[in-house]
Symmetry: C2
């Protein structure tokens, strides 16, 4: 399945900056039967982690997260860029592949002890996923796993996410 999906992902050289090959999943999302297969497969992996909620990372993570919440009938929790969530938030700063960023989650979005699966389209350096995990834990939740559509293995995101149960569907060993 991974190789078939890879054939649907577009490689865009020099985006967002020179020397980076961007893996563009929009060409996969527009192939409906494959998108459905992706969601079903990720849902299966989520289920194994026995979650009580899905936390998805803005923006592309929302596409998968929304579909997974629907499919698994689990609460959808958005992790957003600063200033987007209207109510009280917990914040976490982090390094990402091309700079620094901040992630926010509403302080009442996670219940004490709630088991949360973190969903994003891409695992790169792991900075975003780690920030999301810290937010879940700060708010009293438990990270029961992380699920990604694409993993850029050469960026070694898994190293900074040790101790978390990770799954990715499509892996790129080299740039």
């Amino acid at each position: 399945m991974a190789e078939e999906l890879k054939a649907l992902i577009r490689n865009v050289p020099d985006f967002p900056k020179k020397g980076i090959v961007f893996r563009d999943i929009t060409t996969l999302l527009s192939e409906a039967p494959q998108f459905v297969r992706v969601v079903d497969r990720l849902a299966e992996e989520c289920s194994k982690k026995n979650p009580q909620a899905i936390l998805a990372v803005e923006s592309r993570g929302f596409v998968l997260g929304g579909a997974l919440s629907y499919r698994l009938e689990l609460p959808f929790i958005p992790a957003r860029k600063p200033g987007k969530l209207p109510w009280n938030t917990e914040k976490e700063d982090y390094e990402l592949e091309y700079g620094r960023a901040t992630l926010e989650v509403h302080t009442d979005a996670i219940k004490r002890g709630q088991r949360v699966v973190i969903v994003d389209d891409l695992l790169a350096t792991g900075g975003t996923a780690l920030a999301a995990a810290k937010l879940v834990e700060k708010l009293g939740g438990k990270v029961s796993g992380m699920v990604f559509l694409v993993e850029l293995e050469f960026l070694k995101g898994r190293q900074c996410l040790k101790g978390y149960d990770l799954f990715s569907l499509v892996k790129y060993a080299t740039e």
Copy 2:
């Protein structure tokens, strides 16, 4: 159903600026049974418009759009803020409630004659939805309808969207 959903939407005064009451749907998204009902209901309305693809507007529109694409087994097309899509795009500038903005869609995301439903969480002044519709049409597609979770009727978004087939689930007549 609309009144039940309204009870789950949080009203945040003075966001994003003084005098505005922000309708926060995150509290609804975190109620899984209601989120599933919302998606099923919107899917039913989408189906009536006989679409061949779902175009969703970044970011909150992605949550509903992802779930609807999955549910209806239709291609997912993202409309994003400038600079986010990695490939060739068509752009459309527009006015929105709190300023100006630009929306982009990949030029190959829509096929000639393809019937597209536009999905977003919120219909406010209609500027964003109109920009999305123009993009669909510029790229040779046909807007078969628009579907929203929330409509702020007092902002009269429908006036600038005349000729389009609109559906919204939860309506606010006054601020």
